[in-house]
């Protein structure tokens, strides 16, 4: 009973801001009343028509895509190296090291980037690539955590030993065993990475150039204008992040189900 009560309260607490945002985004006018008056799609049309929002929307998608690809490219070998390290001490130490960025405020990272990349030798501040590079630093720990945990859960090492004894070479083991066995956690990791990248504000706000500001950065500006517009813009961000998560979740679940139904 108490458990249910607590769960219920928490769910309401989670839902209220989103419900308010949704109501606000469809409301014509929202001044001193409890609920807005009038129903309209005007705010969404406005956001869609705003060139800076359109540009930011695409920038965000591009940055998220680059971040995901980089995380996979860097994270997989790294996770594998951590997992396969011979010495237990090395494994423990590397786990602490790769989790460190979680404790690192994005602000600190951004200042570091500004110091390094505002110089004449490395004048890359404001580029979309640098933005993605920062997001990789912030998101990689979560990806690694998901993948390494899965490697341990599956006892990947023994699976590889088994494949080894059955005559497969290193490349075959990677293609036939490691990658397919880890596909769920890789996907789950990438969903987290995409969601983090799309929602990231602190770092992006300081690093992004004027031409490739990401969506959350532009979103902040919206709050100086009409409430309905701001609400609509925020709902779009929510939808964007949600789409990434749902798409990822569906394809992961779908892949698992397909195996069974084909059988």
């Amino acid at each position: 009973m108490i458990l249910r009560c607590v769960t219920g309260c928490y769910l309401v607490y989670l839902a209220v801001p989103m419900v308010l945002l949704l109501t606000g985004s469809f409301g014509e006018l929202w001044l001193n009343t409890l609920l807005p008056t009038g129903l309209t799609l005007r705010w969404y049309r406005d956001v869609a028509a705003d060139p800076s929002f359109r540009r930011a929307f695409l920038s965000s998608l591009a940055v998220a895509a680059i971040t995901c690809m980089s995380c996979a490219a860097i994270g997989l070998p790294l996770a594998y190296a951590v997992f396969r390290a011979e010495s237990r001490r090395v494994r423990a130490l590397s786990r602490v090291l790769y989790q460190l960025p979680v404790a690192l405020p994005a602000l600190v990272l951004a200042f570091g980037f500004i110091v390094v990349f505002s110089s004449d030798t490395l004048p890359w501040l404001g580029s979309i690539w640098l933005l993605a590079a920062g997001h990789v630093v912030l998101a990689l720990p979560y990806f690694l955590q998901a993948v390494v945990a899965d490697m341990q859960r599956l006892d990947l090492r023994t699976l590889e030993d088994a494949a080894d004894s059955l005559g497969s070479n290193g490349w075959q083991r990677f293609a036939h065993i490691v990658l397919p066995a880890l596909r769920h956690s890789i996907l789950a990791g990438l969903i987290i990475v995409a969601a983090l990248s799309i929602g990231e504000f602190q770092f992006s706000n300081l690093i992004a150039g004027f031409l490739n500001r990401t969506y959350p950065v532009v979103l902040l500006q919206a709050f100086y204008g009409a409430t309905g517009f701001a609400c609509a813009a925020t709902v779009i961000l929510l939808a964007l992040a949600l789409c990434a998560a749902v798409a990822g979740g569906l394809s992961a679940g779908g892949a698992a189900r397909m195996k069974v139904t084909v059988a």
Binding site: L159, D161, A162, A163, S165, L166, I177
Partner: protein, 348 residues
């Protein structure tokens, strides 16, 4: 064992020490003949899994030679050794269907898809899993997974089959039937096999020959009956079967003094006054009514456990204790230790 046949697996002075520790295996030598099932037994940490990993090639020996069918494979990578391995937790590939798991060795050997399917089905039939080839490993019971692992390890006609505690993850009932099943399949394929276990019943009932390991060293090698009836030392006596081990001082050529009293023994070659240990298996001790006679002692029951077919009784006799296993339902008053049930052991 005929002298001419080449052993399927042969170890000569094989040693391996885990870097930075004193653990490992040291100077191990034994052969497995074609079709033979050798069971390696020992307490946990004795190096039995290390031994299996050395033969499979997951570890490379520091010294000694490992031969498969006469070829020195000591430095050959695992995938070229052609040993089928069954792992403790089966290690089935979770994303592959049962038949794909079984056929994996054929896939990396570039056998055609149709042929792979055909042979996987054949193999699954052999291990009694005909209807389940399209399941995923998670949809199988422990015993079924075990059979898949066995089929997968055998499909490429390996030079040897290595089983690492294959039954330890199963419940007691499945374990016994799976034990017979492994034996049947191993016999049918006539494949040289090494099975690792710490379970003495499993070892005694399965093995053609047994290897007993202790702290990385081979302490005894022989047929199960030989190991049980003539253990090399107190450790083997205790580890394989139950044992009464008594400290003994030699009185004369056919008599020793022990904590339970003076024992008449078979003739032995030891000098009077020397100190040794004698072994009496619990099932060799008899319950008797008359209180007088050779090797008959008054006994006081300390514990009496009834197991249906047998009773395990612990009694105090003299200044010592004896464990007795008997089918008799009688009340315990006196115990008789038959002269020929007494064996002498190296003092270790």
């Amino acid at each position: 064992m005929s002298g001419e046949a080449t052993p399927a697996v042969s170890l000569e002075g094989v040693s391996y020490r885990y870097p930075g520790t004193n653990a490992g295996v040291f100077d191990i030598a034994f052969d497995i003949m074609p079709g033979e099932l050798v069971v390696c037994i020992g307490p946990s940490g004795c190096g039995k899994t290390t031994l299996l990993r050395l033969i499979a090639g997951f570890l490379k020996p520091d010294g000694g030679v490992i031969r498969l069918a006469g070829d020195d494979v000591s430095q050959t990578p695992t995938r070229r050794r052609e040993c089928g391995v069954v792992f403790q937790a089966y290690a089935l590939f979770p994303h592959m269907r049962v038949w794909e798991n079984v056929a994996y060795a054929l896939r990396v050997r570039e056998v055609t898809l149709a042929e792979r399917r055909r042979r996987a089905h054949e193999m699954l039939e052999l291990v009694g899993l005909s209807g389940l080839h399209n399941r995923l490993p998670t949809q199988l019971s422990g015993g079924q997974q075990q059979r898949v692992a066995l089929a997968r390890a055998l499909i490429f006609k390996p030079r040897a089959l290595l089983l690492d505690e294959p039954l330890s993850a199963l419940d007691a009932a499945t374990r016994v039937s799976m034990r017979d099943e492994i034996r049947r399949i191993q016999r049918g394929q006539n494949i040289a096999s090494l099975l690792i276990t710490h379970d003495q019943d499993e070892a005694l009932s399965l093995a053609d020959r047994m290897v007993v390991l202790r702290e990385g060293r081979l302490v005894q090698l022989g047929a199960p009956q030989e190991i049980y009836d003539r253990p090399a030392d107190a450790f083997v006596a205790n580890f394989v079967g139950r044992a009464n081990l008594l400290d003994a001082q030699v009185i004369d050529a056919q008599c020793v003094e022990t904590p339970i009293g003076r024992l008449a023994t078979p003739p032995h070659g030891y000098e009077a006054g020397s100190v040794l240990r004698v072994l009496v298996r619990p099932e060799r001790i008899e319950l008797v009514t008359p209180g007088i006679g050779e090797n008959i002692f008054a006994a006081q029951v300390l514990r009496d456990r009834f197991f249906g077919a047998t009773r395990q009784i612990e009694v105090a006799t003299g200044n010592g204790r004896l464990e007795i296993e008997t089918a008799a339902r009688d009340r315990v008053a006196n115990v008789h230790v038959p002269r020929d049930a007494i064996q002498f052991l190296r003092n270790t």
